[in-house]
Symmetry: C2
Subunit: 377 residues, 2 copies
DNA sequence: TTGTAAGCGTTATCAT
DNA sequence: ATGATAACGCTTACAA
């Protein structure tokens, strides 16, 4: 395989000069540059990045650790990351962690072994100790979609609290009083923030919190199904369910379907995160959406700016606004529509979600004793 | 950062011995191994893979080049690839080409520069010359989803011809005679094979081919929309449309919707490739599906077996069977169902697709003069 | 502007 | 079973 020495020989210069051309150093004579570039072309020379990395201590690669690329939310985030990374000259190492501690740990070792320049991660836990390896080695890191406790690290998240609050408020406005929430893992901030938003909305409406209506599982369809079954088996008779992510929502649909119940006639359903192509063909599910693509772009841009030292040294937290998309799944629409759907019959309404105001925040902290409101909202 | 020399010193052995331990060489004294492993743990040593790669000429990485990870088909393939690669100790370099020649070329350079051990690619064109760089450098390659002309290379594809034939036959059985097909790029075998399947089904039913009913665009929603509009504007009055991929199908839905027409009452729709979560909530679209996850797994396994030299030297072509999933979108169901859907009201039927038999093949070649049937079916 | 020399951290090769 | 030595292909530091 052609090396830099071959090119140098052909161009009649030293390897260093070729290196300078490759790295677009300024101090190269244009004529020399031409010679070298011709030699590179003629020999189809492509530098060996292992060798470059070994010497330069940079890999021009970043790792992306997400729970599951198969979830359309993560797919979209990944695409954003890839686009931004690519245009900055970085490659992406893709890692699915499945929210699995062992897998995440394994991948952190891969990340360290490969000496990637930076990491974008949606960690399975808010516990900073799980990311010790990254921190110890001072690998530039951006956490996405979730907040971390115990480590001031760059973070890009959606405003889950306000989104959830808006979603539940919407249900309440439609007359629902018995609303259940199906949350994800306890130590995952996005799951918890959505429960917080739920609590806020109920409190603001003067509806007492029934702890039995708050369920926690995993961000998985199977979990949504199980939790729904438990909920309905216990005879709590919720009139609406808030699924804290799209996978859980699908599980709710399944469980409700199996019981011969109907959405929204028998039970309403809202969800955090959309199911992209579904809305396209069947504008059904009322959801709070985060700008997933932008989240990916922003995370990558933030990381790259760190790598280039363009950023001030303070870790930052970027909070992206959410939108409420009101569709059919909580009722309020005729239920005798012919198949298939036309968007003029099943219109959808997209509304930006307002974050909590300072007064609302203060008021809430007063009214709800145990409430922990993260700084971001 | 800790190096192999640090570990060696601590364990009181030479770096080579540490290397042997890392690489689980057999000829290491168990006691020595223990000492080394302890030292590794104590120092939190993780080998530098750039250095390893430079010396060993292996990167333990493979590149995955797909059109767009955002398309659920590719998402699923990617997940399969990642799972298989991970369990073989390989990392994945993710590259979205957007079916764009420039992007693909760019990524081929990245691939070469990074000296990945192998490549899994869905190339934007069947022209082998576009992959010259891979071939010249003898980078082990598996082509997925598409056939390549002019290069005998490992390939994993779905049986597009039989799938398309089954899909169109289904339409014909329901009484459709004026069926349009919206295909993808001319030089993409999956697109062309699906048109071939279409042609076969019509011919077998004795329906003459109307060239105006065959449209070609891109595998994009916008393209599906445009093509549908053109088709309908020209007054060809198709009673059914066959979209050759899921993105195109979504464009058809849009266009039909905008005209105030309904699927399937006014026009039927079938598609190649499912839209995963859609079917979950709204079992609507009749489709031919390929086992996308298995395609990813198979492609990665094939590649890894090449890398490990476990395979005979012949390039091979793996053809995965397709299934027909019959749902609502071509009619034959009541159209006065209340929202939302219950799967017992909108049942779906999944049928394995039979490949063309030898006799059928022979018969077809006789009846259709210009027909080019690829070897795989 | 260009070149020389050294070294990045590992493993292949050969020797013991 | 273990070690010494060199080399992988490049870039940094310094010199000219």
């Amino acid at each position: 395989m052609t090396t830099i020495a071959d090119v140098a020989k052909r161009a009649g210069v030293s390897p260093v000069t070729v290196s300078r051309v490759i790295n677009s150093a300024s101090n190269v004579n244009p004529a020399t540059r031409d010679k070298v570039e011709r030699a590179i072309r003629e020999l189809h020379y492509v530098p060996n990045s292992a060798a470059r990395s070994l010497r330069s201590k940079r890999t021009n690669a970043i790792a992306l650790l997400v729970p599951d690329i198969t979830n359309p939310f993560w797919t979209t985030v990944a695409r954003g990351v890839e686009d931004a990374a690519q245009s900055g000259g970085y490659s992406i190492l893709l890692c699915n962690t499945d929210e699995d501690p062992t897998k995440q740990l394994h991948y952190l070792d891969v990340v360290i072994s490969r000496r990637v320049d930076g990491v974008i991660i949606a960690p399975y836990s808010a516990d900073a100790r799980k990311l010790k390896r990254l921190r110890e080695r001072e690998i530039p890191t951006v956490v996405v979609d979730r907040r971390i406790q115990g480590w001031e690290v760059d973070t890009v998240i959606g405003d889950s609290i306000s989104g959830a609050r808006a979603l539940v408020k919407h249900l309440i406005d439609l007359g629902h009083q018995r609303i259940a929430v199906l949350s994800g893992p306890l130590n995952t901030s996005s799951a918890e923030d959505r429960v917080t938003g739920y609590t806020i909305a109920l409190t603001e409406a003067g509806i007492p919190i029934d702890r039995r209506m708050i369920r926690r599982g995993e961000f998985k369809t199977s979990s949504g199904e199980t939790l729904t079954n438990q909920l309905l088996d216990e005879g709590l008779r919720p009139t609406a369910i808030f699924a804290t992510n799209n996978s859980i929502a699908l599980g709710v649909v399944d469980a409700v379907d199996q019981r011969g119940l109907r959405i929204p006639q028998d039970i309403a359903l809202v969800s955090f995160d959309d199911i992209p192509h579904l809305s396209h063909v069947f504008p059904f599910l009322t959801v709070a959406v985060q700008p997933a693509y932008e989240m990916g772009i922003k995370a990558a841009q933030l990381l790259l700016s760190r790598l280039n030292g363009e950023q001030d040294s303070q870790p930052c937290q970027i909070v992206l606004p959410t939108c409420l998309i009101v569709r059919y799944s909580c009722g309020g629409k005729p239920d005798d529509i012919n198949l298939p759907f036309r968007k003029d019959i099943l219109p959808e309404k997209k509304v930006p979600v307002q974050p909590l105001s300072l007064e609302e925040r203060r008021e809430l902290l007063r009214r709800i004793p145990g409430l922990k409101l993260p700084a971001y909202c």
